[in-house]
Symmetry: C2
Subunit: 349 residues, 2 copies
DNA sequence: ATTAGCACTCTAAGGTAGGGAGTGCTAAAT
DNA sequence: ATTTAGCACTCCCTACCTTAGAGTGCTAAT
C-alpha cells in the first residue's frame, strides 16, 4: 500500500510529533532523521501522504500533522513493539499494591495513580461489575436493634457492605442461619446470576412463607442492588502539563467528562469483552467529548473471566508504544494479584 | 474605627467585587449603590480605605479591589447574616444522603459534591480520624485457609475492613471467641485509646502467653494501623468556570494542591478543634499554595465530640455569607445524621 | 526521478496608537 | 469645612500593522 519511502517519512513525522506537538516540516525531517532525500522530495511524499489521509496541514504553509488514520497506521504497522521492560512500573506497582491485595477498590485507585504517573496521561480503572464477580460468601452481622450489616465477599476481592434497616429484630443465631442458607445457595455464582435467581426464588417463596428465608433473600437483594462497577480516574495534574491542554476550554471539557462516571462506564463498557490491549484513536471514539483523545485499555481477569478494565486516556498525540505496553503490563499484573488471592479459595472447593 | 460612610463604601466595593471580579470605580459605586455622595467624595473615602489597608489598587488609575483585611472586616462586621434558609441544599442533602446514613465515606463524598454544586466552589470533607472515632464492634470472619477478614464498625458509621494473612489457622469458633474478647475489651473506646491500650496489653500478654488473645490483639493492631482520616474534595469543574482561574498556572497549582491529600489534612487539622464555622481568608492561610484562596470549615460531631470537618474552598473573592451558612447547615445536617445512627446504640448501653 | 530555486502563504511576535475607565488634585460651591 | 465639578494625567486593553520566519508548491534544471 505504501512504499518504503513513504513509510519512513510517515514514521518520522509521527515520531517527531509525538515528542513535540509542532507541525513537522520537510526540512526538519531530512535533518533530524537523516533521510537520503532532499526536502523537496520529502515534500512530494508528504503531499501524497496527505492525499491518502495520513497527514494533514493545520494551514497552508505549515508543516504536517498526523491524522487519526495516520496514528492508526502507525499503531498497527510502524510502532516500536519491543519497548523495554517496565522495571520501574513493576516496582512501583508491587511496592504500592503490596498491602492492598484484598481491597480491590483501593488497589485500583492506586493503580490509576501509578499508571498516570508513569505515562503522564490519565490513568483509568474500572472495577469488576456485577456480571463478572463471583460471590464468595455473605456475612450478616447485627448492627443495632433494627439494623443489620450485610457484608459481601467476592473472589475479585471486592468487599461490599451495606447497613440495612429492618422491621424484624433478628437474633445473632437467626442471622447465622440465614447467612448459612444464603452461602449454601449462592456462593460460587456471579452477582448477575444471583440477582436472576433471587427474583425466581422470591416469587416461589412467597408461597412457602418461610419468613426467615424470604427475609434473607430480600436482604441479599438489597445489597446486590447497590452493586455496580466503580470507575477510578486520576492524573489530571499530569495532563495539565501537556501543551495541547493549555487551553482552558479543553480542560473544562475533560474535567467534565471524567467527573461524569456514568459516561465513562458507557464508553469503556464497549471494550470490556475484547481480548488483549485495545486502542481507540481520536474520532474513532463514539463519545463526542473524547474525539480529541485516545484510549488504551486492557482487561484484567479473575480466573479466566474478564473482570474489569485498566487503561490510559491521553491526547491522540500519545506515546502509543510505551502506553500500550504500560497498560498491558499493568493488566497482567492485576490478573496475577487477583489470582493469588483466589487460588486457595478455588483449591478449597 | 470606621465611620458609617466608609463602611457603606467598603461594603459596596466588596459586594460588587464578589459579584464580578473587576476593580470597582468611584462612579460605579455611586450609581449602583445610589449613595448620596458624588464620585469625588467616594474617591476620597476610597483613598482613606486604601491607606487603612482595606482596599488596594491593581495599578494607578484602576478601581479598588478588597484586600484580605477588607474581607476579614466584611466577614466580621458587614456580612449579611440572615441568609435565607437553604431549602434547596437541605433537600438535595436529604435526597442524596438518604441511603448512605451508615456508610460515612460515600456519605462524605456525596456531601462534597452537594457542597460544590451549591456553592460553585470546591467542596471538602474530612472523615473522622482515629482520635475521635469510637469503636462499636469488631467482627472476624474466616476468609480463606490462612486469611481472616477483620471488620471494624465505629459509631460514626465508618466500616473499615482488612484482610489479614495469618500464620495460624483459626476455626470459626476461635474467631468468635476472639471477637467476643475484643468487643468486651475495646468497644466504646476511641481508636486512639485502643491503640494505646493495645501496646500496653501486648506487652503484658507476652508473659501470659495466651496465644489466642495475643493473636487477637495483634490482628486488631494491624487493622488499626491502616485507620486514618480520609479527605474528599470535589468541584474542580465548578471553579474552572470562575474568571480568576482562567489562568492555566493557577489551575495547575490548585490541582496539585488538592491531589496531595496529606497537605490538605495538615491544612485542615489546625481547624479541627475550633467550635462553629471557621473562616480563613487568603494569606491568613499558612500553606503557600492556598494564599490566594479562602477556606470555610465547620466540624460535624458524633455525640458531643467533634468527628470530622466539612467545608468549602474558593477564591478570596467568595460569597462569604452564603458559603458560611452553607457550611454551617451542612455540618449540622451531618451531625444530625450521625446522631440518628448512633442513638439506638447509645440507648442500648 | 530528483533537486535547487523562488515566489507565495500563513503565523507568531513585537510595536504602536487610540479609546476608555479611573484616579488625584485643585478650585469653586455649598 | 465639607462636598463637588472640572481637568489633566496615568495606565490598561484592544486593534491594527509590520516584520521575521518557517514551510509550502511549483517550475525548471540536473
Amino acid at each position: 500500500m505504501l512504499d518504503e519511502r513513504s513509510i519512513k517519512v510517515l514514521w518520522a513525522v509521527i515520531n517527531s510529533y509525538i515528542n513535540n506537538p509542532d507541525p513537522v516540516g520537510s526540512r526538519y525531517v531530512t535533518r533530524k532523521y537523516s533521510l537520503e532525500f532532499s526536502p523537496a522530495t520529502i515534500r512530494n511524499i508528504m503531499a501524497d501522504l496527505e492525499e491518502l489521509g495520513f497527514l494533514s496541514q493545520p494551514h497552508t504553509s505549515a508543516g504536517r500533522v498526523p491524522t487519526d488514520k495516520g496514528y492508526r497506521f502507525y499503531v498497527e504497522n510502524l510502532m516500536d513493539e519491543n519497548v523495554c521492560c517496565h522495571k520501574g512500573l513493576i516496582d512501583s506497582l508491587t511496592r504500592r499494591l503490596e498491602d492492598l491485595r484484598e481491597d480491590i477498590y483501593t488497589l485500583l485507585d492506586e493503580t490509576t495513580r501509578t499508571l498516570s504517573s508513569h505515562s503522564h496521561y490519565l490513568g483509568i480503572a474500572v472495577s469488576p461489575g456485577p456480571d463478572g464477580s463471583t460471590l464468595r460468601c455473605i456475612e450478616l452481622i447485627p448492627y443495632s436493634d433494627d439494623r443489620i450489616a450485610v457484608i459481601l465477599f467476592t473472589n475479585e476481592g471486592i468487599i461490599k457492605h451495606k447497613i440495612l434497616k429492618n422491621n424484624f429484630s433478628f437474633s445473632r443465631n437467626d442471622l447465622n442461619r440465614i447467612a448459612r442458607y444464603l452461602n449454601k445457595e449462592f456462593s460460587g455464582y456471579t452477582i448477575r446470576e444471583i440477582r436472576q435467581r433471587l427474583l425466581e426464588e422470591m416469587a416461589r417463596d412467597k408461597e412457602l412463607c418461610d419468613t426467615l428465608i424470604s427475609q434473607a433473600l430480600s436482604l441479599c437483594g438489597d445489597v446486590m442492588s447497590c452493586y455496580g462497577a466503580n470507575v477510578f480516574i486520576s492524573g489530571l495534574t499530569e495532563i495539565l502539563e501537556l501543551p495541547e491542554f493549555s487551553d482552558i476550554e479543553k480542560i473544562k471539557e475533560i474535567s467534565r467528562t471524567i467527573e461524569d462516571k456514568h459516561a465513562v462506564i458507557k464508553l469503556i463498557d464497549s471494550l470490556a469483552n475484547a481480548e488483549g490491549v485495545q486502542v481507540v484513536i481520536g474520532a474513532e471514539n463514539t463519545v463526542e467529548e473524547m474525539k480529541a483523545l485516545s484510549i488504551i485499555t486492557s482487561t484484567y481477569k479473575e480466573g479466566d473471566k474478564p473482570a474489569g478494565i485498566v487503561g490510559i486516556i491521553g491526547p491522540t498525540r500519545m506515546d502509543y508504544s510505551s502506553a500500550i505496553s504500560l497498560v498491558d503490563v499493568t493488566a497482567r499484573f492485576l490478573t496475577e494479584i487477583l489470582d493469588e488471592g483466589g487460588q486457595e479459595w478455588r483449591r478449597e472447593r
